[in-house]
Symmetry: C2
Subunit: 568 residues, 2 copies
């Protein structure tokens, strides 16, 4: 008897890791069609796009606007039509109408080939936690379908469908039972500095658990506060990753799946902690992408940043230059009565190093003018004048707000988006002025702890030294009263950030944090004071612009009442 020669079953796969814009059906469909065309030309069998690729993700209430859904269905028809006379199969996400009578729709995918839609499959597991609120907008799938493809059975599913640990229904298992050999998972998973490792661990573990190939395709790009990192991948049935696309980068990526190749060695992917260097580099790249996309997708060309001479505004200016190019960045120094000469010089030097426009708008005379009028008015009505004795909080805030006034004038006058420069530690503690330094359309580092702000700035300088060293070495100060230092009213940032991390990211109680941080010699008194301050400043954060999200617990996904008497 001769050898049986069998043609190896291989899938030439193209991964359309696209950066869609929410609601831009025309642009998104054009991008999908163009990638599909390229994939066909290079001989790919299958091209896969992310969850809701047609409309972008997330869309919130838009999912229940009938005009929005209709527009998406027309795009689906257009994409399907573009596969006429092609041999390629394409998969992409869209919003499908549910059965009549329901107000909710489906988060669905379409498989298209030969000019028509050959399969539609809705998402089964609808994540409803954090910033995901899909149960509010979507209806679950009740059936699970596979499709055949060059003699291979493929089970298509969407994002959370693979994250089935906490659910009774396991779409992956159901698809396996229906004969699927390959799972295709269309996703829109946002980046967070500690979540990526866990995501990869789950994808690999599920491939091994079900003994299936998994094709995971993730969206890339910024959408308001969320940043999607792409990093689409392919995992073999033994749990080993055979391909991964680069993070933070749009593109069409090619790989091959060899279905005949079988390995018995189970490959266990541990959820490994990324190194500090990689974490910081990735946070930097994420912020650049999030910033660039917010600007571009909202039709801005340039931005304005208030340069205080401190590390926060220095980092934001550097990020803005990397996102947009320095000629689109206006730096404005706004010296006031308690600004130091050193800070002003640092701001000027920074602007020069970055090559950005540098404007000086002193708030000094506005401040004096305001204070003189205030004191005169108080005197006139016989009110007590506190302003002469010391600098009150009202007077500090006034300085911050006069700066906001100047920056917003530039923004409105020149159509430049004002970037908010406050960091997460400050925002947690309310160490920021509403309508002052909190002004702006996008908070660039509002989800970055102060200690990470320094790390990011050092990382940026390791590429090219744009941030003057003097900015690193001076003690952080708002410079709103003589010789003021942040550390006069806050614990050292290394201590503060540790406490905040356990309270915000880990949602620990005061007692738990006291226990956890006892070995670090952080007192219960300090911890309770920090926690109470965080809670009391919820009202400020409610008025914060979207803050680019790089942790697992950013302000927008944190839901705390303002009115709250609970004594930590």
């Amino acid at each position: 008897m001769g050898m049986i020669l069998r043609k190896a079953k291989r899938i030439s796969l193209a991964i359309g890791q696209i950066n869609p814009t929410v609601g831009d059906f025309e642009g998104n469909a054009r991008k999908i069609c163009s990638f599909l065309e390229q994939a066909e030309k290079t001989g790919s069998d299958l091209v896969v796009f992310p969850e809701l690729a047609v409309c972008g993700y997330p869309v919130w209430d838009l999912a229940n606007k009938s005009g929005f859904v209709d527009r998406g269905l027309r795009a689906v028809a257009q994409i399907a039509n573009s596969t006429r006379n092609k041999r390629i199969t394409a998969i992409f996400g869209f919003i499908d109408r549910s059965e009549k009578g329901s107000k909710k729709n489906h988060n669905s995918l379409a498989v298209v080939r030969g000019g028509r839609v050959v399969l539609k499959q809705a998402k089964t597991l609808l994540p409803t936690y954090d910033v995901f609120l899909e149960e509010i907008f979507f209806l679950r799938a009740k059936t699970h379908k596979t499709f055949s493809f060059n003699g291979t059975k493929v089970g298509p599913c969407i994002c959370e469908d693979l994250w089935d640990d906490d659910y009774a229904t396991k779409p992956g298992r159901l698809l396996k039972q229906k004969g699927a050999q390959v799972l295709v998972n269309l996703s829109a998973s946002p980046y967070s500095d500690s979540g990526v490792g866990r995501r990869i661990e789950v994808i690999c573990r599920k491939a091994a658990e079900y003994g299936l190939w998994v094709i995971y395709v993730n969206q890339v790009g910024g959408q308001d506060d969320l940043i999607f990192d792409g990093r689409s991948c392919v995992v073999a049935p033994n749990g080993k990753m055979t391909f991964v696309a680069p993070p933070f980068q749009e593109g069409l990526f090619y790989t091959t799946i060899d279905l005949n190749k079988k390995s018995r060695t189970l490959f266990i992917q541990r959820s490994k902690k990324t190194s500090s260097f990689v974490r910081i580099k990735e946070v930097y790249d994420a912020l650049v992408l999030g910033l660039a996309d917010y600007i571009r997708k909202n039709g801005f060309r340039n931005v304005v940043v208030g340069l205080s001479g401190g590390i926060d505004s220095a980092l934001v200016a550097a990020l803005a230059c990397d996102a947009l190019g320095s000629k689109f960045v206006i730096g404005a120094a706004l010296p006031g009565p308690y600004s130091s000469k050193r800070s002003f010089e640092d701001a000027r030097l920074m602007a020069r190093k970055l090559g950005i426009e540098f404007r000086v708008k002193s708030i000094m005379s506005q401040y004096e003018h305001f204070m003189n009028a205030t004191i005169a008015e108080k005197r006139k009505r016989g009110a007590p004048i506190r302003e002469k004795r010391s600098i009150s909080v009202a007077m500090e805030n006034l300085q911050a707000r006069l700066r906001g006034l100047q920056l917003m004038y530039i923004s409105n006058d020149e159509g430049a988006l004002l970037l908010t420069t406050g960091n997460k530690s400050e925002l947690a503690m309310g160490y920021s002025t509403l309508y002052g330094d909190m002004c702006g359309g996008l908070s660039v580092i509002g989800d970055v702890y102060k200690t990470d702000v320094y790390r990011l700035a050092r990382y940026r300088n390791s590429i090219s030294p744009v941030i003057p060293l003097s900015i690193f070495s001076k003690a952080p100060s708002a410079e709103l009263r003589p010789n003021q230092k942040d550390q006069d009213s806050l614990p050292p940032y290394s201590v503060l950030d540790r406490i905040l991390y356990h309270y915000i990211e880990k949602n620990q109680s005061a007692n738990e944090i006291v226990r956890t941080l006892r070995p670090k010699r952080i007192t219960a008194r300090t911890i309770r004071r920090v926690l109470t301050t965080v809670d009391h400043n919820e009202y400020k954060r409610r008025q914060l612009p979207p803050a680019l999200r790089i942790t697992e617990k950013a302000w927008f996904g944190r839901r705390m009442p303002i009115t709250n008497e609970f004594d930590i």
Copy 2:
């Protein structure tokens, strides 16, 4: 044979319609114990309190803070203990720990009697839509228990458990099957002007459907943007309401349930539209309560309102006086370069009629000072000077922001909460200035359409004429440029509000609205322009303070992306 004499089964019921403060376990427990004591003294058999009465509702992320849950459990023990040596039974809501290993807890109720907890029951149906996101924070109940009470079987449940139309599980039916004769429903249902009628219709219909008595106890009071209206009630098995507690009022209310009295006549409660007068009166009362509670629960004593001489700030000042008393309200007129004499005089007259302090803080010289410096600075760097030709948006916004600066100075200097005066129509259209008239800690009428602002003002004047008639008769204007009128850039408010109602409250698409409003002769062009403007101004609303909610679709429960290319 003689007649069988049966002792009539009657329940002397006390309804503890309390106004709890979120997180104030001590205060809430004290209130519950005091009402419980009173109810016992007056011979009540049963006293019922609202959903999560121990911690207040809603609590969002606090529900998963272990310290928060622990504190509530201690309060439960304290309340249970207070029933020792009493004959009364009490029911109230609290957060219960779930089985080990789960990160979520239960939204539960406790039945206490004779010094101990005799039954705990978790909520089964967890509303997850609009501002309710309970699936995020809570775990569902799996079992349903009844308890016996003077020979009567009572089935306790929580809020949504009775709103079972859209759910497969029907807790009311399950409790009936277990022999319950009376359903006790602990609720926290927020007020909305069109939702109250529907709520009453559901309670009555469910009583009739299950043939059970229903005791519905609702929380009262303000919590951030939400206003709970109370209006607790008792409905007989034939669907007829036998008792209803007053709306917007905390108190212990008594009624009797006669279980022997049986009526075969089914009483069908229609969801009737409240009359326009009642609706406006109730909105007014709701806003007063919401405002008063926000101030009180957040530890403020007084407020400051910018008085422009327009209808919005007039209404807000009147509401503030009704909520706090006129001596706690500071009115500030802030005349600028384009303010009319008439508006200033109206503001002054208004303040006099209300009996509030009236301050005048002109922004004139600050404005000139700023503009002169800006022009000089532009000249210096050779930039084109547009400011001399006409009044730009930047210059309009500057005026609004200089007012914000003055008002926030008063707020910070005197610890008075600044009230935001913008209405829903303006906020929808972005006809408001960020960090200008949008400044403030609470938006009082941010959920009230402009046409309703006039209705509310007329209603207030029908009680006592505090708002000068001249304010009603002048055309609305921001007075930021010469002879400016709102209607220069917006459709008439009667038209605008109609369009907004269909877009925001009814979530209709452009095509649907065009069809609906064709008989009103509102053009498609006007409609599309309004819808596009609403969408483009999402970024402003993201930075709005909490806005007291009086409709079914307020800003906080509306989730729209800022980055959104969808062309309506």
